[in-house]
Amino acid sequence: MTAPELSHAGAKAVTVSGEVQARNTGSLLWNEVKSDAALAGGQEVKTGRGANVTIGFEDGSKVELGPKSSFVLEEASSGEAAMKLNLGKMKAWVTSKLSRRFRVRTPTAVCSVRGTEFGVSVAPSGATSVDLFRGTLGVADNRGNELMLQEGQRVDVSQQGVGKPISISEADAAADSRERADLKREVGLEMTKEQVQAAAALEMKSAIYQQGKAMIDVNGHRVRIEDYIMLPSPDTFKLVVLNERVDRFDYFYYKGTFNQTLPTDLTTAFKQVPGCVGSPCQYYITSYEVGRSNTQDNVLENASGGHQVDLNSNVAADDDVAFAFDPSQNEYVDVPNGTAFYGTLYDTYALKYNGIAHTEWDVAADPSGTPTGRKYDPTAAAAIAAGCVNGSEAGCGGLRSYGDTDADGDTFDHATNYNAHNMTVIQPSTCDNLDGPCVIPTEIQNSLNQSLDVRCTELDNCTGYREENKFHHIVYRKSNTGLWDKWDSYIIDDEGQVASFGDFAGITSGADYRARMLKWNYQQIITASEFGGRKIDLVFEPKVLIESGLIQ
């Protein structure tokens, strides 16, 4: 594209930056304007985004047209320079030696000048703002009102007429302030988006906390917890508890097989697992497996041959049930004296650490391993003589799920059916008298039936409460063959604080104690001779152990 043909030029484009175009009056065709191109009266000039053009006149006066402006050079003769700014901004430097008139019109104002430096801007509405930087300037509106603008003043002219002159510096400051306020508002709106997004993220995080999936353990480390139920077959469930810390992963699972297909509403079967008052349970577990692992080491408990026995009418008094967990009420209830209570007894049991048995029995087989059809009976000889078959006969029943590892309280025929591998619970040789004979409150001792438990303030490898006034309990067993295992248990809140005996104050019974325990968490740290110095470190709800029958 070439520059337009301009005749008898009175002005020319001195400098051009960006897209600048011009057209003659009446023409529809716009042509590019280049530097030094001549401009004549009647031509219209427009500038694009970011563009500007400086137009020089014969006497040295010049006009700079800003970006996105529209300008008509009405007259550029030796006697007069007249122009109309339709839109945008312009600035003019008018030499004082100019003997002709220099006039700038806008849709709303007329500026007549001599020896002046001034700027004009026109808004789409036609509203005009005139700044006078040097000299004097007459500004008139369309109604014929005119004022003389003084150096350093600005005046706005609208369709309503010419306004009141104000200081340019103050006006600029006010405009800057408004612009800054507008931009700050935009920044504020942008930040509001962030708040909405952050609220959405916070909502998800809170849901995780509310479901108890994240908490702090006793060592101040975050532990993530997930627990869920799997249904591997119609009559089997698997309750899984997963723990993750920054540097380790531990898990617990309880896999139980019921005597029949599970109902759609699992609670119908689960609530009968701890046992049933008055009549045999419709649903009971016939075999189970409990696993605890750090993904490298494991502790596995297996039991089978589960059968229902009225524990309150067999010959073993020590297994009588005076209170029982009632899942329908989610609390312990008293079982009145003389009332039948049906629990599940298992014929085989094994507790193994990395595959090495520390405790096991099998009453269903004779010492040679030949099946006998017997059911578990704490008074073995009598039961065998009585032909215990389904466990409900008089004289059958006794030891329940976990295994009475110290063989205390039952008269089971250990010589033939029980193999504790000579594991012995190590008790401290003397009671720690630091805070009295035994620091555990009497009511807790009574409720736990743990009158032998005392504090072990000096030794880790003994059984008892490790910290003064705290529910931090250790069970340590060892054998004369070099096997040992240790269960280091804490009752903690979700911040990892260990419960104190004071938190369990006022307890009057074992039922009370266990009900109180439901409000806390369990942390179990298991070590054993097979683990090579490693540990299994689990945090879970005691409810998991209670419902699965691991805590009675």
Partner: protein, 404 residues
């Protein structure tokens, strides 16, 4: 004196803000150590011409003293949070109209340390968001306007994957996880529609202004399957969690001069209504209890606020006081007693928040700040072994801010 026509070249308009505060957080009978909070943002606005501006924004925040409205789960007293956000927003204001068009792109990363063994970048609940949006605003009577906006953003928790997805097998070789379990269960795709307007009251000679806004948020959880009544994740692809949230907020503000113009007050009353509908259920394995429609809720909030300022308008002292009550009612989430037993009532929580603040100008753009916030929460949910529903909390902060 202006020496060149504005808009003919790239113009920078810097906007900066910095605040440094220190204080403590209180939760029931416990209190945190003294910690500092710091936040800053920088926006070197680039004005390309009369119509186009670009707002590149950086915002950084460090929080050592918790806010009273933060969640109260683990790490209640010990918590450090840091976030960084960058965004690029355009502002297009066509000269022929009073419209504004605002496309934006933003990214944020938040780091959260809630335990002493978590390093920056390793926090379980660290998250990042990537979003883009467009807002259109019509200034129908300066400064009153109507805005319509759409945002799409992705929230990702890079350190949070379900444990089940990485559980492997038990010692007998049987799987520990369910086949259909999700992995990135917290990640969401979000689509949001915003409508807002400011209205002069009365229209011809406004004495008050009414701010109204409505927000519709559609959240999809691409990796969170629906849990059925037996606690099993639905293996079918279409059955993923979706939430729909509606928020309606209104605030009526009444500014006025008092004491012959020597002081100014701004009184406001705000209300909010929200409803969230979700298709997700939960299953409490410990209690063997399916909780249907566990995430749906509605909430309402209301409260007055007042601020009083005196002195020169650009350097005035300001005292602010705000009180807010809010209630959240879950539609399916059941209450539990202290032992965890489920009841039949649905959960609700009331929250009462009081915020008091004072700021004093000590130099141009430089202010001294002091604030305290108190929150009381109460709920019919009595099972608080893993999360507190009824509690009181407070914090105080004081320090300085610079705003340019």
């Amino acid at each position: 004196m202006t020496t060149a026509l504005q808009g003919s070249a790239l113009e920078y308009i810097p906007i900066y803000s910095l605040s440094l505060l220190g204080g403590q957080y209180f939760f029931t009978q416990d209190r945190s150590n003294f910690h500092g909070n710091a936040s800053a943002h920088a926006v070197p606005v680039m004005k390309l011409d009369e119509e186009w501006s670009v707002l590149p924004l950086y915002k950084g925040n460090y929080q050592g003293t918790k806010s009273v409205t933060d969640s109260v789960g683990s790490g209640t007293l010990f918590q450090e949070q840091m976030d960084h956000r960058i965004s690029l927003a355009g502002l297009y204001t066509p000269v022929e109209t009073n419209w504004k068009f605002k496309p934006s792109l933003n990214y944020k990363r938040e780091f959260l340390k809630e335990t002493r063994d978590e390093d920056w970048g390793k926090g379980l609940f660290d998250y990042e968001t990537l979003g883009l949006g467009l807002e259109v605003e019509k200034v129908y009577r300066d400064p009153f306007s109507v805005r319509v906006g759409y945002d799409f953003y992705y929230i990702r928790f890079p350190n949070y994957q379900s444990l089940e997805s990485k559980s492997g097998v038990d010692p007998n070789g049987n799987p520990l996880g369910r086949e259909a379990a999700g992995t990135n269960v917290l990640d969401t795709m979000n689509q949001q529609l915003n409508l807002s307007a400011s209205l002069p009251i009365p229209y011809d000679d406004p004495k008050m202004s009414l701010q109204t806004s409505y927000r519709f948020l559609w959240q999809t959880f691409p990796d969170q399957p629906i849990i059925n009544t037996q606690g099993q994740p639905n293996p079918h692809e279409p059955y993923k969690r979706q939430d729909f949230t509606n928020n309606l907020n209104m605030a009526l503000t009444y500014p006025r001069a008092i004491l012959g113009g020597k002081a100014r007050t701004s009184s406001a009353f705000s209300t909010g209504l929200a409803y969230n509908g979700s298709n997700q259920n939960t299953f409490d394995a410990g209690q063997t209890k399916a909780v249907m429609d566990a995430y749906s809720y509605w909430s309402v909030s209301a409260g007055p606020s007042v601020s009083v300022s005196w002195g020169d308008e650009r350097r005035s002292s300001i005292v602010g006081l705000a009180a807010t009550w809010s209630r959240q009612n879950y539609l399916g989430r059941l209450v539990q007693n202290a032992a965890g037993q489920y009841g039949t009532d649905k959960q609700y929580q009331d929250r009462y928040l009081i915020a008091l603040s004072y700021s004093y100008p000590i130099a141009k753009n430089f202010r001294m700040l002091a604030q305290t916030n108190m929150l009381w929460a109460s709920s019919n949910m009595d099972y608080e072994k893993t999360y507190r529903y009824s509690y009181n909390t407070a914090n105080y902060l004081f320090g300085f801010s610079y705003d340019y």
